[in-house]
């Protein structure tokens, strides 16, 4: 690994990349007095606030069909995302075999959209002070450039991460409470349109109620009432006391679910780290051969990572060991098993990078 390098201008950097031909290129989100000095002597001045949303940390239903894990200690294997600790030997070192998947990336994009909304309206980040990047693999990065936030330490960043995740949010501290109004017990709580998590919690409750009502123990009639209600109308009324059979504890549970629904599933470790290395936009991701690239804000909706980040042209012959089905550009590929195929270079590169194939010379 080549580390602690600094470059005066982009052309020098480009020259170095051409010399080294690295599989992965990272830059530090931190600003240093002496970027090339040893870690302790660099003189930390600040770091951009970064968020990482990655399918690795998302709970998508498709994972068991395309991801596998193996415990490095005892060899236990399983399908889907790796558990934090091995169920058999409690070790936390896992080896993962992941695959690119449309559904996972759609979910990652949705989380990114939720994150952006929180950044704009709660943290007050100006859209012009933020950039969105596709990681070239399974997720998105959001970088916030702000001199005010740059100097924050780990603990402050941890608070921001928990805010975005709605972690340990206590609805009662947002004043969801039972109060006594002239001898009648009434439930009061946040209202739609209030700032921050107060309003967002209420919006989330609507989602949860209309999508999961039956599972939550609502009667079909209650579910129907909610679904046919105009959302804004319903929430204008003192709705906390308007659903029969819903007590404080039910509402509390619902609120926690609502917050989870509306929170953005970022990776806390990345946001908290003030010396983070993050993929350099414009370089290839060595896990896939796809481009790490900026996605303009207004194009996030239509951005298709499997079409817009392809870097290679031409055709290539490879010998594929095994690979599940996948899509790149508008084409479906695979599944393959022990066969030699001629593929567009971008697809061949993906298989090579994922070590699912070998070049045929």
């Amino acid at each position: 690994m080549v580390r602690h390098r600094a470059f005066r201008d982009p052309s020098v950097l480009l020259g170095a990349i051409r010399d080294l031909i690295p599989a992965h290129t990272y830059f530090s989100t931190a600003y240093y007095q002496e970027p090339t000095a040893a870690m302790e002597e660099k003189g930390w001045k600040g770091a951009d606030l970064v968020f990482d949303i990655d399918a690795d940390h998302l709970d998508t239903p498709c994972k068991p069909s395309h991801d596998k894990w193996k415990c490095k200690a005892c060899g236990t294997v399983g399908n889907g995302g790796a558990p934090r600790i091995c169920p058999k030997c409690k070790n936390d070192r896992m080896e993962e075999q992941t695959w690119l998947c449309d559904q996972c990336l759609r979910q990652a994009k949705e989380e990114t959209t939720k994150l952006l909304e929180i950044l704009y309206s709660d943290l007050g980040v100006e859209p012009s002070n933020l950039r969105i990047f596709f990681s070239g693999h399974r997720g998105y990065h959001v970088h916030v450039y702000s001199t005010q936030l740059q100097v924050m330490g780990e603990e402050e960043r941890r608070e921001i991460a928990s805010y975005v995740l709605g972690q340990a949010l206590d609805p009662q501290l947002h004043e969801l409470n039972e109060v006594n109004v002239g001898g009648v017990k009434v439930i009061e709580g946040p209202q739609l349109g209030q700032p921050g998590w107060r309003g967002r919690m209420v919006e989330g409750i609507y989602d949860v109620l209309s999508e999961e009502g039956e599972r939550l123990g609502l009667s079909p009639a209650q579910v129907k009432t909610i679904k046919t209600q105009d959302r804004d109308e319903f929430f204008k009324r003192p709705f906390w006391s308007s659903v029969k059979g819903f007590g404080l504890s039910t509402w509390k549970n619902l609120s926690v679910k609502a917050v989870d629904r509306r929170s953005a599933k970022i990776d806390t470790v990345v946001t908290t780290d003030v010396h983070r290395l993050i993929r350099l936009p414009g370089t290839l991701n060595g896990h896939t051969g796809l481009l790490t690239m900026q996605v303009p804000r207004e194009r996030l909706d239509e951005f298709d990572p499997f079409r817009d980040s392809l870097a290679f042209h031409g055709e290539m012959r490879v010998r594929v060991k095994d690979a599940p089905q996948f899509r790149l550009a508008e084409r479906q590929f695979g599944p393959y098993l022990n066969e030699e195929v001629e593929l567009p270079s971008y697809a061949a590169m993906l298989l090579l990078c994922k070590r699912r194939a070998e070049p045929v010379i």
């Binding site: 007050g124 402050e156 608070e159 709605g166 972690q167 501290l173 107060r198 991701n285």
Partner: protein, 350 residues
């Protein structure tokens, strides 16, 4: 905006320092008999802080109140005892809080924005039953709130609106208490070039007070731990609390002692760590530490309590992402030291 009475209440204000500077007094001049109330109050502040952890907010002599504060700080910096500095800063900041919470919003706003450089907006908002007087910029809020433990200070439990956190008047005073604390810590940490002769005896007396209330000076501020950066948040917090002279309950002490002994800290170091505690008894502590370490009694070395136990006893403190993967503070230490000594991220960034 501020009267002399205000400066007496809040001698840490920039205006108060300015006032003192304009008087142009040298330390030597303070030896004049008419200034003895100043020196006595300076010593009084220290003694109150060290003995009770509080400095009284009663003001009988405004001048003495204003002038004594920088002198207390000067004496402290000459004593050079970290534990005493922390304790003094805490006591003085508590005093400030008690006074600040009684002020009207205009004065709070003035002090916050001139002395602490807060970006603060006046608010007139009622959400639910709570009335918010201010909205404080997020970085200013976090800078102070991260030191506060109750769940209501955690950001997810706050109202955050376009980069500003809504706070009540009392909360503004509480956050300012934190500012005062750090400001005083920083101030008493500056080393003056020379010891003014007049203060020599006062400094010696202050040293005596420190020993009387906090025990003998320690050689190390922190116990010698193989990898201090790998300690879990709960353990760090326990050490900080002891350092600041806060009272730590039995479960906390037991956790700290068993944790440190298990990762190989010497018993002497552990005993010494407990010294700043207000009710420190060397013999008792030594006995307990040796007991936990397995030297006494059944010779079973105690292991550290599980996180679940620590959570119910309120010892768990701001668990972080590593905490989610472990069930005992010792495993936290093991896991983090591994990452730290591996140099570099455990998993490659994506």
């Amino acid at each position: 905006m501020l009267t002399k009475a205000d400066l007496a209440k809040y001698p840490f204000l920039s205006e108060a320092s300015e006032y003192v500077r304009e008087l142009g007094l040298s330390i030597e001049e303070l030896s004049a008999p008419e200034f003895s109330p100043v020196l006595d109050r300076a010593e009084g502040r220290l003694e109150e802080a060290l003995s009770k952890g509080r400095v009284s907010g009663n003001i009988t002599n405004e001048n003495a109140e204003i002038l004594s504060f920088p002198i207390s700080n000067l004496i402290l910096s000459l004593v050079g005892e970290e534990r005493a500095r922390r304790r003094f800063a805490l006591a003085e900041s508590k005093r400030a809080y008690e006074l600040l919470r009684q002020e009207d919003p205009e004065k709070l706003e003035y002090i916050a924005s001139t002395t602490f450089m807060w970006k603060l907006k006046r608010l007139d908002v009622k959400l639910g039953k709570r009335f918010y007087d201010f909205a404080l910029s997020l970085p200013n809020f976090l800078h102070n709130s991260v030191h506060l433990r109750e769940p209501r200070w955690n950001l997810p439990n706050r109202v955050l609106d376009h980069g500003f956190v809504y706070i009540t008047r009392d909360e503004a005073a509480r956050l300012m208490e934190e500012e005062v604390r750090t400001k005083i810590l920083e101030r008493s940490g500056r080393t003056p070039d020379e010891v003014p002769r007049l203060l020599g005896s006062r400094v010696e007396r202050a040293r005596g007070l420190v020993v009387k209330w906090l025990g003998l000076p320690t050689k190390y501020e922190l116990p010698r731990v193989p990898l201090p950066e790998a300690m879990p948040p709960c353990v760090r917090h326990l050490i900080d609390s002891l350092d600041e002279g806060k009272n730590v309950q039995h479960m906390g002490r037991f956790t700290l002692a068993s944790f440190l002994l298990n990762i190989g800290t010497g018993e002497e170091d552990v005993v010494r760590l407990f010294k700043p505690a207000t009710d420190f008894s060397e013999r008792m502590t030594r006995y307990q530490v040796e007991h936990i370490g397995g030297k006494r009694g059944g010779r079973t070395k105690y292991t550290c309590p599980m996180c679940s136990t620590l959570k119910t006893h309120g010892v768990c403190y701001k668990p972080d992402e590593i905490c989610e993967t472990i069930r005992n503070p010792l495993s936290y230490y093991k896991s983090k030291s591994r990452t730290l000594t591996n140099k570099g991220p455990k998993r490659e960034p994506n």
